[in-house]
Symmetry: C2
Subunit: 156 residues, 2 copies
């Protein structure tokens, strides 16, 4: 295990870095949501990852979805900005990275589902199916916020 | 000059780091906008700065406005996320930081205007006054987007 995720733990180490990332709730035309199964911890999650210098946050979102699932997407709206300091990822080299994820709603426009180094399974799932899948609470929160169709993005 | 700002320059160095920051269009009850005069380059700007580990992006916004102007604010809405890779800041130590600013509309709720190490003058100005002040185009863009009162935040 090369990373340890701490979420709402009083004993978590203090963050020493913040890196912007994007994540995507990709919804097909039957209202199913795209999930990938992470190779590093076996949890189901929405696609996403850290922004690279030279791209915009929207570029980052589209690139990460394509890399992790094979699907090309258009961004339809901003769901929220998630910057909870009580959600940190601890790495073996001493870095403790605070969550900073810009989460977008997206729709697929091209591509075919495929796995990757970071995703051992990929697929679209109904909200009913999602309910019993093993999903991190921070990710479930974003999917919930998506489903609420709020008039303004969540700032959390 | 400890930093060089490159904006839409083909010859700019490539970014090697992205750090989230917040900025604030603070509007008083007569529709004047809070601006500070930067000590490092003499330009007028809206308050803002980089996020520190341990705070949320909203905390960062409120802290930076308070530090640079003396004013406590409430956030009223998200204006946009500005992540243009053609806007970078070059530092003497070799870091080239890509702009990543989450810009919020805010209203003042307490405090008194005062300067700081980073701000030699502070004040509220009308849009008429702003038109002839020396303001970086990337900052003027955020103020313009604020004024347009768009239904959705700008993703740029």
């Amino acid at each position: 295990m090369s990373r340890i995720e701490h979420f709402e733990e009083d004993s978590a180490p203090r963050a020493n870095r913040v890196v912007p990332a994007a994540s995507a709730v990709v919804v097909d035309d039957t209202d199913r949501i795209l999930l990938i199964k992470r190779t590093d911890n076996g949890l189901w999650t929405i696609p996403g990852g850290a922004m690279e210098p030279g791209e915009t946050i929207a570029d980052c979102c589209r690139r990460e979805v394509l890399e992790e699932s094979g699907i090309e997407v258009d961004i339809t709206r901003l769901i929220g900005i998630y910057s909870n300091p009580r959600h940190v990822i601890e790495y073996l080299d001493g870095e403790v990275r605070q969550q900073f994820s810009v989460c977008f709603a997206c729709r697929p426009v091209a591509g075919e589902l495929r796995t990757s180094d970071e995703s051992s399974e990929v697929g679209y799932f109904t909200l009913f199916e999602l309910a019993t899948m093993d999903i991190h609470p921070s990710i479930r929160l974003r999917i919930t916020h998506f489903g609420e169709s709020r008039p303004d993005p969540v700032i959390a």
